[in-house]
Amino acid sequence: MFEELVKRDFKKKYKRTILGVGWSMLSPLLMLLVMKVVFGQFFGRETPHYTTYLFCGLLTFNWFSGSASAGMRSLFGNAGIFTKVNVPKYLFIFSANMQVLFNFVLTLLVFFVFCALDKVSFSWKFLCLLYPVVTLSIFNLGVGMVLSALFIFFRDIDYLWEVFMRLLMYGSAIFYSIDDMPARLQLVFACNPIYRHIAYFREVVLDGAVPSVSTHLVLAAFAVAAFAAGAWMYRRYNTKFLYYV
């Protein structure tokens, strides 16, 4: 069943679009270009490999934001199904996430091409990148479950979420560096799961280092916490969603 749902989501997304898959890779690139032009002059001078630095941030942030908004609507969008057939509802969120994950992987490939163009040195350490991909996938699923449940109850949550995402974007140090900031402010960034994932990417790709054990534990903790919250909501409200659609 999961397979069929995933197929449906893919078909719906790419049907009747000539650019199709290409477009979903092009749009982050355009965003990269815009940011490079706008911020390159201000922040680009002190940061080496600024394009790669930016791309690390955009790649991760876009994945999260795409996942969250697709997940948020996935349950409501399938209301016609789950009010008529008794199906496990989390499958809708999982399926929506597969779609975004696929996009992410494509963008990741483009990212590696950019790394090569930016003369970043590749090493076996790049294999570490699998780790944040896994933790962020789980984190995304959890956030998607929570949001999709909230979206059923409060249909205007998407506006609030949009505002929050804007805030998060500026708060994730996508186009600037937090190195020169006071320690207390840096602590705030350390609590931001998206920033932590971006930082992991940068550490591996730009510094050629393997992040510390504590970083790994923190990422895992974020993922588990988000997933647990989502699973809890789904257990609790599983048979109640129906009353709200």
Partner: protein
């Protein structure tokens, strides 16, 4: 056979809906109403203390006027909703056909929808590969199979839904006004198919406003009125007569 447990039983099932301010108002509105004390929720019992039990091979007809709680009861039996009070015991796989034609995706083709629906009903891909031709043949949609679903008429949609659902061999089959769809020819065909499924030992629940159909096909009948259980009996004929009398009295 006599001492086998009932394949499906409902004990004092009650279902409460809440109506009022709680849905589709959004977070801002919800907060405002909570603060101003304007938040009103009214309970509404769709079903109250409904009890019945069915044995292997039974066919139950559920009758009652609109709003009697029939569809809600079916949703509980299908496991889509939980009863607020009471409990439902199912000793078999349930396949429910509720409001046919809905739950399909308008942008996908007939073929894609068939596979999706099949998957939702728990069919394996292999099973669908084998049965697909039979399904499309039965629904008489062969020439439409690559058309987007939204271009189909509602009768065609229901036909496809029925065709898919009837391929499975469920222990318990739930039909909500299914047989009322389709033209005369398809109706005859689907009734024959229904008999085949019942003959295969499935326990079937049928909700219908076509009282003659209930009289003809069912061996037990449950009469609901405004959520209350009026009768549950195997005296189908007697109950249908009383129901018809009740309808007549109501309209005069």
């Amino acid at each position: 056979m006599c001492d086998t447990p009932a394949i499906l039983s409902c004990d004092n099932v009650s279902i409460r809906y809440q109506v009022g301010d709680f849905k589709s108002i959004g977070l801002k509105e919800w907060v405002m109403r909570r603060l101003t004390g304007n938040y009103k929720v009214v309970d509404f019992w769709a079903d109250r203390d409904v009890s019945f039990s069915l044995d292997h091979g039974d066919m139950l007809g559920i009758i009652g006027a609109n709003g009697a709680g029939k569809s809600t009861l079916l949703k509980v039996i299908a496991g889509i909703m939980e009863p607020t009070k009471g409990r439902v015991v199912r000793n078999g796989r349930v396949v429910a056909l509720l409001e046919l034609g809905s739950g399909f995706d308008g942008d996908l083709t007939v073929r894609e929808n068939a596979y999706l629906r099949g998957a939702l009903l728990g069919y394996t891909r292999k099973f669908m590969d084998e049965m697909y031709e039979v399904i499309v043949g039965f629904a008489q949609l062969k020439e439409f199979e690559d058309r987007p679903f939204k271009q189909l008429s509602s009768g065609m949609k229901s036909r496809l839904a029925f065709a898919i659902a009837s391929m499975v061999k469920p222990e318990i089959l739930i039909l909500d006004e299914v047989l009322a769809v389709g033209d005369g020819a398809f109706r005859a065909k689907s009734e024959a198919k229904m008999r085949e499924i019942i003959g295969g030992g499935a326990t079937t629940i049928l909700v219908s406003h076509a009282i003659d159909q209930v009289r003809e096909m069912c061996n037990k009948v449950l009469w609901l009125d405004k959520g209350m259980q009026v009768e549950f009996t195997d005296d189908v004929k007697g109950c249908c007569d009383r129901y018809e009398l009740f309808l007549k009295e109501g309209s005069t």
